[in-house]
Symmetry: C2
Subunit: 187 residues, 2 copies
Amino acid sequence: MARKKEYNEDQVVEKAMHLFWKNGYETTSMQMLEKEMGINKFSIYSSFGNKHGLFLESLKCYKAKVSVILEKFKNATNGVADIKQFFYDSVDANYKGHDQKGCLVTNTYNEFSESEDQLIKEEMISFMDNLKELFIEKLKINSTKDEATILKQANYLLLAKHGLAAAARVNSQKEIEDYIEMTFVNI
Amino acid sequence: MARKKEYNEDQVVEKAMHLFWKNGYETTSMQMLEKEMGINKFSIYSSFGNKHGLFLESLKCYKAKVSVILEKFKNATNGVADIKQFFYDSVDANYKGHDQKGCLVTNTYNEFSESEDQLIKEEMISFMDNLKELFIEKLKINSTKDEATILKQANYLLLAKHGLAAAARVNSQKEIEDYIEMTFVNI
DNA sequence: AAAATAACTAAACGAACGTTTAGATATAAT
DNA sequence: ATTATATCTAAACGTTCGTTTAGTTATTTT
């Protein structure tokens, strides 16, 4: 055997995640990652293979971070009110630390929308599809709406959530909250 | 005197604009621009100074392109219905040629949100502010709503438009149209 | 026809990118 | 204490980036 790692992989991934979250994949360089993660390139490559591998781990880390919110949402039983609360919880998470960086999944979805990276694209699509299924599930609670209406509303909410995450990068928390309130007026 | 340019600057800027529109600023390389514009680097640099200058001209070109829609919107007199029509006109423009690339201004706004480029950022902000003022103006037509409600609705519409443009990169035209319909139920 | 010059081609620039590698360092097992 | 080996540092790798430059081509003026 030989010496031990001087860093914890989960800890440095979280730091990388924050950098990707703030700047996106392409704009974040290995040099920036070295500095932010506090370890050098060799260590990054030996732990994560390459930049792409590190990004995938960062996405995992992000999903684990938001899974608390998602689980709360899954387990809720009040229908539309739960969806609204989920929107608020998401915005809260995105504004933590006064960093305006939206949702990493949505940012990634947008950045990779014209890319050839099928792995990333499929991960993003499956995340969105899961969310849509949850919206449908919640919309059905205590509701007499027909299937078509529910589908239409789920689509609406998914796009609203997408737009919200995009807007969260550039708008104030007050504007965001007004937006959520208006969104749910007629659902 | 000497020989004439073999290209038209307005024509090659439009080609550059489409490339920036599809891929964003950073992802679009000079090599790609050479190919798309059909002229070589020397010509690009002698006509536009550098990549940044070419991008600014591309933004101008885009604004000129959407100014038709914007002028129609400005001159309309029916209030909320005009805003809705403006949303539809914008989506139509964004889907022309079956290219899914959203709105160049919004894409740029998002890409440069964490950048240091004040020139670009200010241009984006002024574009958005103008739009917001137009929304307020149209919301006031045939309306008894108080100022606070109008401001809130204008904010809502601005974020909805922002989200719409972001979503237009990744969603189907049908989903987008459903979204617009749902958006204006709330106004 | 000759001279002048703007527009072209194509090669090269330095810098930064993601990635790899050679060598020094530290620690676990013998 | 010595050996083995995983982890570290730091320099270098080949590409690609945006940009510049030297040299050729074509057109207008004299």
